[in-house]
């Protein structure tokens, strides 16, 4: 009797999930299925769609422009992910001992700012900093590097790295604070013991700090890699993928293909490839760095 009531109640619990599931299915799962469906057709968004099989996918991988966009996204990982995580590790390890000081508390707020402002605003700000008369060139001139000044976002060879610098600036604060929070959970006795054994700061870092931060590093890498692969806002604002195609990324290419060039099928095939790429990168990182105890 009691068990039956319990079971009925448990099934009734589904009513609580229903609204969330409805939003998720209608506005995420359904469009996801539609993306896959569109990707198999040739469609201009208005007329009749014609079956196209895997032709769109073949084009994504053989068209040099489209494939270059995917490669660019992978290159951005260096700037969006490798730089903030490694620099963040170095910074967090250095400021670990003074993490509770007043200066560090102020710094916590300040270095978090890029994470709070719209990416669009970061893009506009940096477009100005990196322009030919901007602050970056002014600083370079001041230290005698006048020779390399240029319009960083407008130059074929520097546009993509310049976009990467903007991403690194946005993500560095988040990574530093995440890693710092992880370090504060490490038992201080470990460090004292290491000191007594005569270990220097470097040894300390590689023997104690780094191994204890497995989970935090995993989070930083996942968040930043996804940000690099799915970048859109910063590129749209700062270079629009240019000059030429030099800083084109899949997210922006999808937008152009679907809404300017009216190649909905091709845009959708690229969207599927991007989605698979993001999941294929995020899942293994998560799995590798998962805290096995929990």
């Amino acid at each position: 009797m009691k068990a039956a009531a319990q079971r009925r109640r448990n099934w009734a619990g589904w009513l609580f999930v229903l609204p969330a599931a409805a939003f998720y299915v209608v506005f995420v799962i359904q469009p996801l299925a539609m993306t896959v469906q569109y990707s198999l057709y040739s469609w201009d968004g208005i007329g009749v769609a014609t079956w196209n099989g895997v032709q769109n996918y073949l084009r994504v991988f053989t068209d040099p422009d489209l494939f270059a966009a995917i490669l660019n996204a992978l290159k951005l990982i260096v700037f969006f992910s490798a730089v903030p995580v490694m620099l963040g590790l170095a910074i967090a390890a250095t400021i670990r001992r003074i993490a509770a000081s007043r200066l560090a508390l102020v710094a916590r707020t300040v270095i978090f700012l890029p994470q709070v402002i719209p990416l669009v605003a970061a893009g506009i700000t940096w477009s100005w900093l990196l322009s030919s008369t901007g602050l970056v060139n002014q600083l370079l001139t001041a230290v005698g590097l006048e020779g390399i000044t240029r319009a960083w976002l407008g130059d074929f060879s520097t546009a993509l790295p310049a976009v990467g610098v903007i991403g690194a600036w946005v993500l560095l604060g988040l990574c530093t604070l995440l890693l710092l929070a992880g370090m504060s959970k490490i038992d201080p006795a470990l460090y004292e013991a290491a000191r007594l054994d005569g270990a220097g700061p470097l040894r300390e870092f590689f023997s104690i700090t780094l191994p204890s931060l497995r989970q935090e590093i995993g989070v930083c890498v996942t968040v930043t890699v996804v940000a690099a692969l799915a970048s859109f806002d910063i590129v749209y604002i700062s270079t629009q993928g240019g000059p030429g195609n030099a800083s084109m990324v899949p997210g922006l290419e999808i937008y152009y293909l679907a809404f300017s060039e009216r190649e909905v099928g091709l845009a959708s095939a690229l969207a599927v490839v991007l989605t698979v790429l993001v999941i294929a990168c995020a899942l293994p990182i998560q799995w590798l760095t998962r805290d096995r105890s929990s």
């Binding site: 448990n10 609204p19 506005f27 003074i98």
Partner: protein, 274 residues
């Protein structure tokens, strides 16, 4: 002892450099905004005659009052609905132990890293067929769906840790599941829901892609989307663009500075869980 002191000093210097690197772009933006409209100033030169009026001009040119109103309306649409719906789902999956909860949970978690670009094209046609294209609903409804994986994930993490006894004693007092949820669990979930509210506010306010794809009129978009349009319109007038960008940044900055502790904690926890 000596090494410790030296390390503390290196740390302090590093912190100052890091803060300077973070703040410099904002300073440059501010200084540039004070130059005469239409000029091409150098990166960090204080103008001879600061044009404070640029902010007023940008305020009118960007139609800030309408933009603020639009963003607030969108946030008011997304955040409360998401909170209620996700709290209910998190409660059922994490606490009620409904049959098939594992399947439902995994289904939501799979959406966590989904890039918005992956579904934005069909969303356009979907919104068109629903007749909500170019209205704020075209941003609000999809965003609720897109934030659902994280919101459910977040609320479930809270409810898994709620002791079973709490509900049992309420049941003995004759509470239905519905009453149990609203009278006992919703008040206790306040810390989790308020952090989630902060995150959802921020992500909605800063949403750009959906805003530019689904809504043509900048005045019906989020702040971010409007800023994109503002750049398109005033991109050649650098001082005015800088003034406008600063104005559009201000609301998030203010909210951040007021709730900074909660913000930092929520965002750090948010990325840890995500």
């Amino acid at each position: 002892m000596k090494t410790a002191r030296r390390e503390a000093w290196t740390g302090r210097v590093l912190l100052l450099v890091l803060m300077a690197a973070t703040l410099m772009p904002f300073v440059s933006l501010f200084v540039t905004a004070l130059h005469p409209s239409g000029s091409y100033p150098l990166g960090l030169d204080w103008p001879d005659d600061p044009q404070w009026g640029n902010f007023a001009t940008a305020f009118t040119a960007a139609r800030m009052t309408e933009l603020l109103k639009s963003s607030v309306l969108i946030v008011l649409g997304v955040v409360p609905i998401s909170l209620v719906v996700a709290t209910m789902a998190g409660f059922a999956i994490g606490h009620l132990r409904i049959p098939g909860r594992r399947f439902v949970f995994v289904a939501f978690v799979l959406g966590l890293t989904l890039p918005f670009e992956g579904i934005v094209t069909p969303l356009y046609y979907l919104a068109r067929d629903m007749g909500i294209l170019n209205t704020r609903w075209a941003i609000i409804l999809p965003l609720i769906g897109l934030f659902m994986p994280f919101s459910v994930f977040w609320m479930r993490a809270h409810f898994v840790n709620m002791p079973e006894e709490l509900s049992e004693s309420a049941r003995i007092d004759g509470a239905s599941t519905w009453q149990l949820f609203w009278k006992v669990h919703v008040p206790l979930a306040a810390p989790a829901t308020s952090s989630l509210a902060i995150l959802l506010f921020l992500w909605t306010w800063n949403q750009f892609l959906l805003a530019i794809v689904l809504v043509d009129d900048p005045l019906q978009r989020t702040m971010s989307g409007a800023l994109g349009a503002f750049q398109g319109q005033w991109g050649t007038d650098i001082p005015l663009l800088c003034a406008g960008s600063l104005l559009i940044l201000t609301p998030t900055l203010l909210v951040f500075l007021i709730f900074q502790r909660r913000f930092v904690t929520a965002l750090l926890q948010g990325s840890l869980k995500g």
